[in-house]
């Protein structure tokens, strides 16, 4: 587990979205996603509906991914930029329920998620979800978000 300072951990816990990148045929593919930080292990989880599952397909072919936390909108955290590079594992063994163990994390970031869950039948395939778990290998952080300055590195 890579040790990081408090401001980095608060960024992981509070930012609502990250910019998640997979690699397809040597090219980056970056999408905004809702990330969950697991403080006990230092790992990250994103979940992906099968409707938007190209990222999971990419991970199966190339597990190298990154998550950038750069947007504090909607959070009470300060403005920073933190890049996590890691190895992802796609788990699609239980599309209907495998992701539900992360609902408490999801609910904290999107309190209205239960209203969507109540209409689960209406959005059936949206709730068939692949779990992508990311083990960080390196964390690169720009305090105050000024990327014109050299960053701090952790776990290199």
């Amino acid at each position: 587990m890579i040790k990081v300072p408090t401001w980095v951990r608060e960024t992981f816990e509070n930012y609502l979205v990250c910019e998640f990148t997979t690699v397809k045929s040597g090219k980056p593919v970056t999408m905004p996603l809702l990330p969950f930080y697991l403080p006990d292990s230092g790992k990250f989880v994103v979940t992906s509906s099968i409707l938007f599952s190209k990222k999971a397909e990419n991970v199966k072919k190339n597990p190298k991914v990154s998550l950038l936390f750069s947007n504090p909108e909607g959070s009470k955290a300060g403005k920073h930029a933190v890049l996590v590079q890691g190895i992802a594992h796609a788990d699609d063994t239980d599309l209907d329920h495998g992701w539900e163990k992360y609902l408490s994390f999801w609910r904290k970031k999107e309190p209205y998620i239960d209203a969507y869950l109540a209409e689960r039948e209406k959005f059936g395939w949206f709730w068939k979800r692949v779990v992508l778990q990311v083990e960080p290998k390196k964390i690169i952080a720009w305090k105050n978000g000024d990327t014109s300055r050299p960053p701090e590195e952790f776990g290199a």
Partner: protein
């Protein structure tokens, strides 16, 4: 390139540049940008990566609006692939192709419906691997 709406692009607050590093990992960095009157996209050069001249990258422009009760709305993004060129201490971004979504233009339920073929493809691949 055609299909890039520079007016909507100009409404985003910042950009995220991503390229694949020599170690094979994606490297993303946020930076400011501006669009010149001749539609040139100019990115502020970040400290890292140090070499961005002639690099194939994607640039993500993303927006959300935080909601008072928590969560977010007004989701929209433009993901543009292209090449960066170092010029006068900045980066000129030459766009080549685009992927985008704006929930005001394509509501989420319609976006899901449009994406059904990808869902079917994924399920089909899983089924094939189970049967193999």
């Amino acid at each position: 390139m055609t299909g890039l709406d520079y007016q909507r692009l100009g409404n985003f607050r910042y950009a995220v540049i991503t390229l694949i590093g020599d170690d094979g990992f994606p490297f993303s960095v946020s930076t400011d940008f501006k669009i010149l009157p001749d539609k040139k996209i100019v990115l502020q050069k970040p400290a890292l990566p140090t070499k961005l001249d002639g690099k194939r990258v994607n640039v993500l422009f993303n927006h959300i609006t935080g909601l008072p009760g928590g969560g977010y709305g007004e989701r929209r993004y433009m993901l543009v692939w292209g090449t960066t060129h170092e010029e006068h201490g900045t980066l000129r971004f030459e766009p080549k192709s685009l992927s985008e979504w704006d929930e005001k233009i394509l509501p989420f339920d319609q976006y899901c419906a449009k994406s059904a073929p990808q869902g079917a493809k994924y399920l089909g691949t899983l089924q094939a691997s189970v049967e193999a």
